[in-house]
Symmetry: D3
Subunit: 283 residues, 6 copies
């Protein structure tokens, strides 16, 4: 349990595997040759660029796994906005642990802070609008929990977490069921009462069909702006509207200005660049 509310149980295994991936069977041969086992060290994690911190605790966990006695002093935790040279955290640990865990920690922190930074920037572009920013299931294999956390730290929220926690009826489902109405009916008969239902539509005709079934939300996929605007008007008061398809920072505001409730960007988790962070060992 920690200040960001991310349970260590949800990421410990990932950090362990990441370290083992880097250490191989032989460990850090350079450090083992140069640094004697008992030597202590101190280091600071610093930002090398402007952005928002996310994933600091999983990143610091790498040091804890190699040196359970290490001291971790967080200065700018998850959600902090940093500029170049800001000190994010201080680490006091055995010198060997510092050097062996460095890359694993920075890889995690840079990747997740990159996502939080990108989300923050997209959210900022929507200032003054009621539209919310959501991410998708287009996440990096093995990192979904942390990437969704980073989006939230950036001010966005999540669509479904996975295939299991909400219904999204997509074009292929509709085709296999023989129509939107039939698909929604089958879903209603089967899923529990705590599961919401959303239907993906690409045309206004499909939208009308979906709204007629009383679904909770509609995913308006790849519509041009005028069509999207009309779809939002038709759905108002009937279902939540969510726009998706090719939304990037550059065009997100014009999409949101249609009045759509949510904009959905796979880009946040599959293509946001890493934030540059570094570890400086102190004398």
């Amino acid at each position: 349990m920690n200040e960001t509310g991310l349970l260590p149980l949800l990421y410990e295994d990932l950090v362990r595997r990441a370290l083992l991936e880097d250490l191989g069977g032989a460990g850090d041969v350079t450090t083992d040759a140069i640094v004697r086992p008992g030597a202590g060290g101190q280091a600071v994690i610093v930002a090398r660029a402007t952005g928002r911190v996310a994933g600091l605790e999983p990143a610091l966990h790498a040091f804890r796994l190699l040196d359970p006695m290490c001291r971790l002093d967080v200065r700018l935790g998850d959600g902090s906005d940093v500029v170049k040279a800001d000190a994010i955290a201080h680490v006091t640990a055995s010198a060997r642990a510092l050097l062996a865990a460095e890359r694993t920690a920075l890889n995690l922190l840079g990747h997740l802070s990159g996502i939080a930074t990108a989300t923050r920037d997209v959210v900022a572009r929507l200032e003054g609008l009621a539209t919310r920013v959501v991410c998708t299931r287009k996440t990096t294999p093995g990192l979904r929990t942390l990437e969704k956390h980073a989006v939230r730290i950036g001010g966005g929220s999540s669509h479904r977490y996975g295939l299991d926690d909400a219904v999204l009826v997509k074009d292929n489902h509709v085709a296999l069921a023989g129509g939107i109405a039939e698909a929604v009916q089958r879903v209603r008969e089967r899923v529990g009462h705590m599961v919401k239902v959303e239907v993906e539509v690409e045309t206004l005709a499909q939208l009308d069909e979906a709204l007629a079934t009383g679904v909770d939300a509609v995913l308006l996929d790849n519509m041009d702006l005028p069509t999207l605007g009309e779809a939002v008007r038709r759905a108002r008061g009937k279902a939540l509207t969510e726009a998706s398809g090719g939304i990037r920072p550059e065009n997100v505001r014009e999409v949101a200005e249609t009045g759509v409730d949510l904009v959905s960007l796979g880009w946040l988790t599959h293509s946001a660049p890493s934030l540059d962070v570094a570890l400086d060992v102190e004398a």
Copy 2:
């Protein structure tokens, strides 16, 4: 064993975990409600943008894990250059497996093809030069084997795989050892005869010190172009030269034109955008 030479043993576990991450405990509740268990289906994986395919076999493995009887027909395997609408592979499987594995397969394929595409493009910028493109240990946690594979498919190669398979003496090591010569000597006494030694230097003075120890390679970190050029001249015939630090597609050619043997880009694995790929279920 497969045509790209990537042993399934090296990625099976990752694909399994990625699927379970998406399925949760309850599985694909939408598909389970709509598609009856026995129904078969056919789908094609298509490119939605220009790029180079990488990671197709791990991606297709997702379908195999959900339907061991599925048929996988590769049209444009790893290393193929694709344009929008190209059919990459056909999949015949139970309709449920098709839909439940879709996102996992595409997440892997898009991520790895994005890296291969970026690498290919960087390599293309160096046409006519002898400089090789290498990636670093700045990889996504859990994905190193596949990301390094994608770089190779893109025409690049790898620096160290991990901390265990080569020596890279960095500034922190030098500081802790009390000098480059001392650090290299300690390394030589300890590591096996099949391990190469590279030293990171930031100034020409450090370079001279490193070359005097007879190391195999020098990592020229964050040097401006004139200094880098001078460093390359001094090292010629004595050690391999590798430039690193802030190298991006935009400036890679001017760095390479210094005559440096290798350019090293963390960017390839931590920030290359995903390639857009999709799965179309066929009637």
Copy 3:
């Protein structure tokens, strides 16, 4: 993929661990001493009591793990109602695999069929009423996916699958937030748009407070029948109603006759007795 739509990926690991738990390190020492490796065998899984079959495929998977060449012939699959002596499935495998996997297979099948049978019987008691039967998170550690599946096979459905897929605001949450309204508001600000919200209430006053927040469902906990009836009336058209607390087969109909939408029984998964099933090896 199989006819019940339960993906093997969701249970393979459990079956493997169950077998290893029974085999220990030394394996089936009795069978190994008596039966020669090459000997084949045939067996039939039979019901020893009246009930409904559930979990047959995970159960049969135990034979497949010990003899990949075995032949499995399902006669009365998940959802079938059986009486004593009914043949559920025939298994042709090496004699050693038959005997070594027998107990693991029967333990799974008996446990899950017991839950399906109990659920079926509870559902039958509600004939003519619109009330649905749901199970809870009171499942056996490690078996949630399969136990929830068994409930569905018995005609019930699921409340939340876990802590992650829906919001249930309970008394402790309300106490910590300082009121139902405050708790619901915090939840709305944080969770994604695809997540439903239910609030647990114990009194009519709490119910009114919950309904005022516009929640999706209310959990009416441990109310006596007259109070429950009044609660159902107040909530009608505003939120789904779910009764819980001490509901057993004996009293489920009188609870349902209040008109409540759902009755929730932890009993189905934590206390339903096993169905008696056996494996008869054939000459």
Copy 4:
């Protein structure tokens, strides 16, 4: 190591998996939204019914996994007989850990205490008799170690732990070997000197055949009471006698009154109802 002598190494993994099964990838979304990370809390685990406590330490381990700094204060540990409202243990932990681990802890404690309670009650019915109560391999997949522990806490003991630690020659073995004598001889040639041999028999003729081989114990399966009595007489002084088949609390005493050494009840582990336990968060 703890006061019940159950090594944590034997259950840690199970508790971890049970927590992850409940948390999914997204964690406890309700609690995360309502309770701030730093908040502490105090709770008491109470009995809601009469019974015997078992499995308290694995149950409490759930809190430790989510909050390593939690304080656990056991009042009525394994083996304690409790009545409604008894405080079993106090837990001081972060409020988030308390709420997120609650269900996992109670599921374990209720399940195992249910088995211990049932065993205690069966043992009580045999007061004044020398017959011992034993459980079987009919356990819940993944829970054998803990369920056998619960039986012991209830006053019973174990037959074989698994297929690997003792020989039980059953009807199928006899059929495949071509006779009891042949089966026992094959076993004697193969198993180590520290392994006991028991033979399952259904008739007095089979019993005589088994006794002639000098086995350590005989399992008298599904015999009516007069036959069982005769079997016990014939075996006296030659082999331990164990009755099995359809033994329930209701008939266990009359079976035991035949003088049989052991009564074996699969019912204890596959069908004993859960003990009702709850967690009350304190102001």
Copy 5:
């Protein structure tokens, strides 16, 4: 299931881990560079010395894990006595799989055949005597199942498999209990009826005390030959006798000639040299 009766489930995970240990993250870089993916190959596993084969199936499993379509043709399976140049098995597989799995397969086969060979040779030294050869828990971490199998293939048998399947009261237990009688009594009260009890003794006085409790077996530890002979005489007809402590091939016959029932050699599993085996790739 296979001809030696060793269930693959008991060794698959070990072989997988052994392969991954050799492949690291980058795989077989030499073979990947030289051999094209599609190339097939044929090889023969040959003995390079005289000995007894054991562990062939786990060894061959390494090829199956890298090439599921490989063909394995066993010529001299577990239990076969081989001389130099004997062909043990033929393997047809992709050339890459052959080369990448070679070392893992040979390491397993050489290690286990070394143990079987050593056991066979010790058994041969006891020709004409009734004494049986047993191994101990002094096995290599992670390999107990396979090493105990190898001993059995060599003609020996097992003492306890582990701490869980039989009672061995050792000196430390006696000291903590306050005497042999007290220790045995505590054990009898607690363990199930299918568990045998053995007591370790070092003197004739202790032996008499142990025999008085009616234990199943006595472990005569580190006795000189005359004492051992006297111990065997005293125990005759009362308990099985087992000699242990410093027994090696050189002195095993003189120990056995005391008439002791069993001789126990940790040496078989912790110090037997590997059998030399090789893989020859055929043109």
Copy 6:
């Protein structure tokens, strides 16, 4: 992190698995029956023979896993030379943990110290010569990291750690490539710049061919002494020379006297006998 520089992350899982292998599901039934849970104990690990200690920390980790509060007091850590009766370490822990972890700890310590002792003795035989002793990939499955560590503690070093960290072109590779030159060229095109290349040769003609390609090292396999001497002369100044094939303690000095740079002994890891160590519980 510890004084030998072996990161616990690299061995924790192995020690855990070794303990579970010994404990089975039922745990240490003897100790559980005799020793009450709360009892404390003290013990000393002693050498029973002359040798060099290696693997002490992984061995002691077994006690930590069963009793996290234990106190470990190292007297003669890795690299210490011991004689019979030397106290290697003192352990204060719960008596149950002491007894249950004893065998696992000693199995690890004996095995690894056996390898370190054998290596030390081989190194001693080369006194006055410049030749270094290296081990191979002929390690026990699952133990490579620790066995290579033990060799280093004994004064030897490692050839490749695995298939992934260096290139060794063997006879089969040459055959498949169609010649040494072709094989080396393919390797050079593919592997990274930090990977060294060694070629295995059996004749002087092959040696010349290999040297012509400019490889880093040559493995001189199974050459008689005069040929080996000539090979060393030809390779001087061109490539490192390594002798392998049938090298044992008895003949290692005459091989080294040819002036070869390295002698490679699979024997060190696959056939070195265990060092005798014991645990004495103190009153």
